[in-house]
Point group: D2
Chain length 283, copies 4
Amino acid sequence: MTQAIILIHCPDRKGLVAAITTFVKEAQANIIYLDQHVDRETDTFFMRLVCAFDTATELIRFRESFQTKMANPYDLSWQLFDHNETSRIALLVSKYDHCLYDLLGRHATGELRGAISLIISNHPDLSGVAKQFDIPFFHIPVNKETKKEAETKQLELLQKHEIDLIVLARYMQIISADFVAHYPNKIINIHHSFLPAFVGAKPYHAAFDRGVKIIGATSHYVTSDLDEGPIIEQETVRVSHIHGVQDFIMKGRDLEKIVLARAVKAHLDHKILVYGNKTIIFS
Amino acid sequence: MTQAIILIHCPDRKGLVAAITTFVKEAQANIIYLDQHVDRETDTFFMRLVCAFDTATELIRFRESFQTKMANPYDLSWQLFDHNETSRIALLVSKYDHCLYDLLGRHATGELRGAISLIISNHPDLSGVAKQFDIPFFHIPVNKETKKEAETKQLELLQKHEIDLIVLARYMQIISADFVAHYPNKIINIHHSFLPAFVGAKPYHAAFDRGVKIIGATSHYVTSDLDEGPIIEQETVRVSHIHGVQDFIMKGRDLEKIVLARAVKAHLDHKILVYGNKTIIFS
Amino acid sequence: MTQAIILIHCPDRKGLVAAITTFVKEAQANIIYLDQHVDRETDTFFMRLVCAFDTATELIRFRESFQTKMANPYDLSWQLFDHNETSRIALLVSKYDHCLYDLLGRHATGELRGAISLIISNHPDLSGVAKQFDIPFFHIPVNKETKKEAETKQLELLQKHEIDLIVLARYMQIISADFVAHYPNKIINIHHSFLPAFVGAKPYHAAFDRGVKIIGATSHYVTSDLDEGPIIEQETVRVSHIHGVQDFIMKGRDLEKIVLARAVKAHLDHKILVYGNKTIIFS
Amino acid sequence: MTQAIILIHCPDRKGLVAAITTFVKEAQANIIYLDQHVDRETDTFFMRLVCAFDTATELIRFRESFQTKMANPYDLSWQLFDHNETSRIALLVSKYDHCLYDLLGRHATGELRGAISLIISNHPDLSGVAKQFDIPFFHIPVNKETKKEAETKQLELLQKHEIDLIVLARYMQIISADFVAHYPNKIINIHHSFLPAFVGAKPYHAAFDRGVKIIGATSHYVTSDLDEGPIIEQETVRVSHIHGVQDFIMKGRDLEKIVLARAVKAHLDHKILVYGNKTIIFS
């Protein structure tokens, strides 16, 4: 048995679910999961389907005919993922190690549907952690002068390793628009605040100064606008006057780890559809 | 335009979504919302559909043909609710007034799709609150000897007022199995603990004695097994050693209000399907 | 027996707790509750004490001698509240009634240590609610031209009723700096976002547009800077792509009610100390 | 400068805070942190103090005189911890590795005030993880026949390594009362449910069967009563009908990691006082 995950979006119209599910039925596939959503503001239809096929051949045939028989007549944008093909992941880090440890631990535990293929850092500090988990580590220093050159090296590495997903696990460098253009909706960042509150640097300090009673973390796809990309996941935790900035940072770590891990998982499970500057996260 | 909400469950089989949505399409209806779920343990299919019909006649025709053309061949259990027909609600209370105030406030604000038609209490204390909100209030005392007789009076009132939903808003009497049998999955209770922890009386005292760090509240349909009915909604809140039993009770009130209100809303919006001793809560 | 709540803040120094608690002991009072906090950034000491006195006379004597024997030598800023004297509260509202119903319900239930003495609104719509709960209602229309005049009328009413606390229960007018100056740290507002995200008008719309996964509400003291006053309490709740702006508003209501009620309670229980633009909320 | 953490509990009486803080002042120490709590049911007084001494000698003198000058006259039970002396930790594991990875990651990151000195397991499976982090690993098989013998070996190891804290990081064996008696309030377990709901084995399965809408995890000190020891920390997360048992387990992992880590941190920071079957967790 083979499974496929299909993500669809298109202008809404009558009979879409019937048309799609009838097509699946006639392809002899079984619907394992179906979720759909209509955005009433833009009249856009979104669907996530998981279908089981008896043989790999049937899946191939389905994929081949979907464009002409469904996507063209119904104006569908679609992606199909073979459940057996897993993603290849690159982690970009700087000096903070908590998200790195967390993702590597989850990877080792088997929580992630994907392979962490390499770690790239602008500092050498975390090479030891990479070694602990036996993942190739590449140190590519970045400064104002070398930034362009460094990104070129990064892109070469990423392409050579056929990377599908880039995770910025507290990577403390701004990614250029050029770089982002190579991986649209394929770079996930963790920002250590409840966006859009406290964009930019030192958000825990800013939160402390404002006297908030709750802090948060936000994972989002990276776009050319810093901290403005589509939000994937957020989580919050209470703080109080007894907590100083260091306590905010300490409490925030656990948020960052969980929020980033949830976003990475959702991406690897093909549960995310990006439209405009928002995400649909299927359950 | 008329809308209908359709709840379906049946043994799972290939092509169900296609068959149902095709039937909707051919009835000239538009799918506003569709959510489906398959329980893999029992291979049971669940669906909630909201369909828009151009005319009331089309809705009537749909309803008439659904049994023979869909339910019979596909072995569907189904309910259809006309969106224009709202429920009639009875509140049963004793002496605590916080849930009563909350529900009456929401009712007055227009949050609930339904009409609170009457309030029944085993004590006279809350008649003033009923009067404030201009809802008929019936005092039916209950004690061991008069219980059966009291329930008979209650049932008469409920039937006379054509009640669809009974909400036990901190009603401190156990409902007999006989009574429950008249309103299966139509009586919602709020229990002031995180069920199944602390069943029975005085759950806040029990939680305090056990030294828990989180307390909760649970709304559930009432069955003949006390505190064992299908859970609809739960919520929790932190407590600590500084909180005494009275603080637990105070903090718990807000939980009770919210959890009960959410359950009542989900019921009135026909978002709940009960199967076995569990609920499917469509979003 | 009489109780007093004492709030103290001062520059930190060795021996403060010893000095204060020894003074309490020598006054024959019993410490019911003591919490203290030192802000390490500004080296400021904060304390909340609840003391029990055998007689009212002892409390009076304590109060009289505290300034000369403790406050002067130790440079203490202090407030003392007799537990028997409760606050007088004014609610300011516009057209939204959910916070109003919630506060009036809590008041009626006996949750609040204080009396809601009057309701002022710039619209006549909610006079019926005031009547339901038998609270005097004053309709003072506000527009650009009449704003100053309207505030004068409001201030007269507030002073006449000897109001200690003003609660803006979704009052949709900006309060002038002049007005605020009459009630420093005595005006509590509820803002329907997780401040500092989404300041200004229509925060739910802004949150929806940004695609956040969590929404919040914030209660704060009103200062002359809009939405910038010291934060008292915040709470958040999850949303997802299935929720439209109307769902955000609906879900936000429950946040607003709870967050505002918690802030009002903390104020009435004299658990809040404001310093700089932050709050200490004693537990 | 040297710091000491002092935990005190005793029968409540007038003047306790004054007496203790005056004693600290006269010892030339500075109070960095003070929190106290009185349990009104049992009239018991609890205090946590952090004091700074200019020299190590002053700390030693303080410790020596505290028993005779404070503890004896005021009937205090007390513990004093030198902030420079950190704890030695043993992890007991079976086959699940997520809590192990989490604690080792936190340890490596420097989050824990203590040293993980060894790992003991009844299975050989996780020896590789221990090796990754360069921690001694001891495989001590346990079955019904060898249980007593195995515990003897464990105790020898623990004593040889001068272990202060034993963390059961999903260790799937019941600890005997004999063993527990060697480490009272020094063995922390993580139970994968919101205790007291779902005691015993397979709590996620039980939670799934009951149809709860929220699952939880609980860390507690181990006593001779299984799952009945004093609760240290709890956390919860939402589930719904779409989640199967495997999803409960997956979601529960993150709870277990966080709840166990918080409990271990609180213990290592000497923030926990156990009395009766409850804990005081100072903030």
